[in-house]
Amino acid sequence: MIARVYVGLKPGVLDPQGRTIARSLNDLGYDEVQDAKQGKVIELTLEDTDRELAQARVKEMCERLLANTVIESYRIEIDSPATQK
């Protein structure tokens, strides 16, 4: 099964890279862009297991390594084997 972890800066934490991206898009004429936030996606390939167990284990991985919760928040998506086909 696949777990996708989306890690991004918490609201209120200045994101200099996001700001630079938004400005660059403005420069290209996309005036509607007001803000951009840059994060990262970490895709984990896991042994097939119970979905809830996987969710709990990946949450633990986020807390222990994948995110620095001082500045970052995270979101986990799990594709169960059935949905992967």
């Binding site: 934490v13 200045l14 200099p16 890279q17 630079t20 222990r64 390594l65 994948l66 620095n68 001082v70 500045i71």
Partner: protein
């Protein structure tokens, strides 16, 4: 003669500078402790976590190194009072390890900054007591991720408790509170982005880093 140690991670690159500085200050060769080792020798009285780009800054600067074997023992010994100084990447590693509050983020202007910085010193820490009150010192900085962040509550706490050891006179990276270096609440663990080990010999262009090392070594 005081036994000191320098932790070495893959892609540490200021470990030799730290060893040279400590050797000059103590007259005794520091022990280099490889990150895979599980124990820091018991006769070690002061540890430097050096600068560099441990693990290529993968995931986040310092994140992987902070979870390596030797850090468990370093944490345990620091909890018992062993003085530890993290410099540059070492500061990032100590925050990632939860040994210091806050986090180091990408510099606000996105640029790698490499120059001499002027710092205001809080002389009430065991790492700074030899400096004169009100003195400013010139210490080199060289980093991409030196932008110190802590939430308002944490900033207030470390400020009230005298944990802010160094502040930039000319903030080069967007750090909150102009913070260049902090200690933990107990005062025995310090992290700083500037490199005092690069300012200990007249040939470096300055010697303002000497009193940093002497302060902590004299406190032992």
């Amino acid at each position: 003669m005081t036994q000191t140690a320098v932790i070495v991670f893959p892609a540490s690159n200021c470990d030799r500078d730290a060893v040279t500085a400590l050797h000059a200050m103590t007259g005794k060769e520091p022990i280099r402790v490889w990150h895979r080792e599980t124990e820091i020798p018991d006769n070690v009285r002061f540890v430097v976590v050096p600068g560099g780009f441990s693990y290529g800054d993968y995931l986040r600067s310092g994140a992987i190194a902070a979870r390596s074997e030797v850090m468990q023992d370093l944490k345990a010994k620091a909890d018992k009072g062993l003085p530890v100084a993290g410099i540059c990447n070492g500061f990032q590693i100590l925050t990632e390890a939860g040994m210091l509050p806050g986090a180091l983020m990408r510099n606000a202007n996105q640029k790698f900054v490499c120059r001499t910085s002027t710092l205001r010193v809080n002389t009430n820490t065991r790492f700074t007591r030899r400096y004169a009150a009100g003195q400013t010192i010139d210490i080199p900085v060289a980093h991409h991720d030196g932008n110190y962040f802590a939430d308002d509550e944490t900033l207030k706490r470390i400020s009230d408790q005298g944990q802010i050891a160094f502040q930039y006179s000319d903030n080069p990276n967007g750090s909150r509170g102009d913070i260049a270096g902090i200690t933990n609440a107990a005062g025995n663990v310090l992290g700083m982005m500037p490199h005092p080990e690069r300012a200990v010999d007249p040939l470096h262009g300055g010697t303002d880093g000497i009193d940093f090392f002497k302060s902590v070594l004299e406190s032992l």
